[in-house]
Amino acid sequence: MAALRARASAWWAGSILGRHLLVALLGLVVVVVVLESSSDFRNLQLASMAYLGIAAGGLTVLTGLNGQISLGHGALMAIGAYTTALLLDDREASTPLPLVVLAAVVVTLLVGIAVGAAAARLHGPYLAGATLALAVAVPGIALYFKEQLGGEQGLRVVLPDIPAWVLDLAFFVTGQDLTRSRYVAYLAWVTLVITFVLLANLSRSRVGRRWRAVRDDEVAAELAGVHLGRARVSAFVVSAAAAGAAGAMMAVTVRLAAPSGFTLTLSLTLLSAVVLGGLGSLAGALIGAALLTFLPQVVTDLGVDAGLSDIRAAELAPLVYGVVMVLVILLAPAGIVGTVRTALVKRRLRRSAVAQTGGAATTDPTSPATPATDPATDPATTTSKGSTT
């Protein structure tokens, strides 16, 4: 038994991919349980949470790991969404969904290369400005090419019929018929899990280490042989690809790709999801996405229950959202995940200190407290880095 345990732990410590896959599998099981036990409406809400989560996950890699800020991720989502809408224009559309999502990712990725190449030359506020321009310009493209992209009213997205084998599989596993909303939610969450596994692996690999090196000290990174431009562009491209997948899922969930869905507000929403959850952490991105999805509805319902008029209750949501944002920045500047992680590390340190005085453990007290192995814990230093150099 002890040998088995030792072997399992060795595997856990040694195989990053295996560890991520295991967590992903667990995540999938949780997803199935949650989706099967919730109503159609909750399923669609969870689908919204998933697409926000995918985009926020991409952004958190870019901002948290590579120190680049992007105000243009809403526009990248728009590119993914419009690609999806163009491929799924009627029920007979023959392209299988996985291919549609892949196409959305590839198109966004190509745009990401172009934008990333320009972005790699910019820092801090200039980068924010350039990506801001992207966020403002892309919805304009849809208005300009009205014939092809539907103008202000956008393009409808028609979800093809659920393939029979999916229906059979769903019935076999869960014993319930698969509704359309649940199907959409599964699509979004499976995409999320795949994206997160890829992002997590990438950030623990050599590529991820380079990104962090560039974030922490450009000069040192360059001296160590890291090509700054390449590292920046690759981070942007990966992040854009995630935004493309998110856009595809958004199009499928909302059933529409219209310019008014991809305003600057969406880009800022993504950024605030990342900041709320904790910069650089995928779990944080997911928590941020959950807050943004559920908070407005919960607050509005509370307002209505408290006897406010519809208009007042609707106005309550942005207010509470703003207050939560201010509180998180004030009380937990490292975001929710960052703060929890710091607290855990502190506790562990204290414990090991106690253990050490007892003379039992030989732990190196500095090892658990190396935030550099994972995500930045202080958004301020990360984002201001560019502007100070």
């Binding site: 345990r5 030792a6 399992a8 732990s9 856990w12 410590a13 560890r19 295991l22 599998l25 667990l26 099981v29 199935v32 349980v33 109503s39 159609d40 409406f41 909750r42 669609l44 809400q45 919204s48 208005l143 009205k146 103008g151 202000e152 009213q153 956008g154 409808r156 028609v158 019935f171 076999f172 596993v173 869960t174 014993g175 319930q176 018929d177 909303s181 958004m250 969930t253 909302v254 059933r255 529409l256 219209a258 008014s260 869905g261 305003t263 509805q297 509005t300 008029s309 519809d310 208009i311 609707a314 106005e315 949501a317 942005p318 090991s352 453990a361 030989t362 732990t363 090892s367």
Partner: protein, 451 residues
């Protein structure tokens, strides 16, 4: 490093147990699906969703916050006041109407999510008066797929009613933009044959449908057609090129904000054509207040700011306090409204609420979703109400009010330039209305009966 060894082992063990446990649950689910699952699904067959013995739940999406909110957020307050008024008189067939409004901020993504909430979570019987062309476009397929009656969309786009086979559950309400364009076009062709006509159009269905109507009569007279994108507040270039083209009559199909913006830009440029605004963009009170806000007080607002401007009218508004319908709305608002005074937007909300109550009456005691749609197709053209011209509802058309009259604004009130003119989309002729809708009055108690 050794200290961390224990945690992962526990985790792996827990994970394995968890997966096995859940796997077992899944298998268990498959066994009893024959009994439990079907019973749950088939339970709701007898009564329509959202309808009980003594209540009907309906919903709507409106921009309650954001840039589109001023004016439009008053529509649901009017509708709610009227539903409360009907409820106070015993409801419809003994059922109280519960009206749930959700904010979409005029963003189609939000419209989609609040409509999901209304249909799947609140389980509304019908959508009544959902506002906006781009916003409602996002949900019209979903509502029709789910079989939810989608009544009286607050938008004049043709897509709500010109093809009932595509959207059998959706009904328009206000006159569509094409017939408004036709009526305005014919009026100008007959009364101002020498005018050089400029068009100022919103760049979506609104402007496109209207232009189609106008050009049926004025194709030779149009010297320029300029478009603006909703959301872009700089209309200087468009107005300047209308001026450069020498247009001395500008037909504008735009929202109220753009009425104010176009007026301000024209003042700045010293451009003084005759203005002719669509009904949508001509609420004198709102435009007046927007004018003084946009110009930071430089232009005096107030309801007289649009004096001399021509527009159209299809329901009586607050500028006609002697109209029996407006008197009813005033009574309803005083008794059941919120704070604030009666406005044209609230009248608009009450007017479509009135039509919906009538539809409920016509659908009878055994209310079903398909039943109310059938009833509308059957008797919809005979509905009473404040509208000046009858509805066009039938099994071939779900378009709303069939006509309007041309008026000129004097001291904030409309002065009739034509009698009520009715027509339909396409080549349909424009004729004077003889249905008597214009002169009717509401029933004594203010609650309609089935026609």
């Amino acid at each position: 490093m050794r200290r961390r060894l224990h945690r992962p082992t526990t985790l792996v063990a827990a994970a394995t147990v968890g997966v096995l446990l859940l796997g077992a649950c899944g298998a268990g689910g498959r066994d009893d699906d024959g009994g439990g699952g079907d019973g749950g699904d088939g339970g709701g067959g007898a009564t329509a969703p959202g309808v009980t013995e003594d209540s009907i739940k309906i919903g709507a999406h409106f921009p309650l916050t954001g840039v589109a909110a001023p004016g439009y957020n008053e529509i649901p307050t009017g509708a709610k006041a009227y539903f409360d008024y009907v409820n106070a008189q015993g409801g419809v067939h003994g059922r109280q109407i519960e009206y749930v409004v959700r904010d979409d901020g005029y963003n189609p993504t939000n419209t989609s999510s609040v409509t999901n909430e209304l249909v799947l979570e609140e389980e509304i019987f019908a959508m009544v008066g959902g506002l906006g062309t781009p916003t409602h476009s996002a949900v019209v397929d979903f509502l029709n797929d789910e079989g939810v009656p989608d009544f009286f969309v607050s938008s004049g786009s043709l897509q709500w009613g010109d093809d009932p086979s595509a959207y059998p559950y959706t009904f328009g309400w206000q006159p569509d933009y094409e017939i408004e364009g036709k009526i305005i076009g014919q009026y100008v062709a007959e009364n101002m044959p020498d005018a050089k006509v400029g068009l100022f159009l919103q760049d979506d269905d609104f402007g496109d449908d209207a232009e189609k109507g106008v050009r049926q009569f004025l194709d030779d007279q149009v010297v320029a057609a300029e478009r603006y994108t909703s959301g872009n507040t700089d209309v200087g270039p468009q107005i300047a090129s209308l001026q450069a083209a020498g247009a001395d009559l500008v037909l504008s199909f735009n929202t109220p904000s753009y009425t104010a913006l176009s007026q301000l830009v024209a003042l700045k440029l010293g451009y003084e054509p005759q203005w002719f605004y669509t009904n949508v963009g001509s609420d004198a009170d709102l435009v007046g207040s927007l004018l003084s806000r946009f110009s930071e007080g430089a232009v005096e607002g107030g309801s007289s700011s649009l004096d001399g401007v021509m527009t159209t009218e299809y329901i009586p508004g607050v500028d006609q306090p002697d109209d029996p319908w407006v008197q009813l709305w005033q009574k309803v608002w005083d008794g059941h409204g919120e704070k604030g005074k009666l406005t044209n937007y609230r009248v608009y909300g009450m007017s479509h609420a009135y039509a919906f109550v009538q539809a409920l009456q016509a659908a009878g005691e055994d209310l079903t979703r398909d039943g109310i749609v059938e009833a509308m197709e059957e008797i919809g053209a005979d509905l009473e109400g404040p509208q000046l011209a009858p509805f066009r509802y039938s099994s071939d058309s779900h378009l709303g009010i069939s006509g309007m009259r041309v008026v000129e604004i004097r001291n904030g009130a409309g002065e009739d330039l034509t009698p009520v003119l009715v027509t339909d989309i396409g080549d349909a002729e424009i004729v004077e209305d003889d249905s008597g809708q214009d002169g009717d009055a509401p029933p004594e108690n203010g609650v309609p009966e089935a026609p």
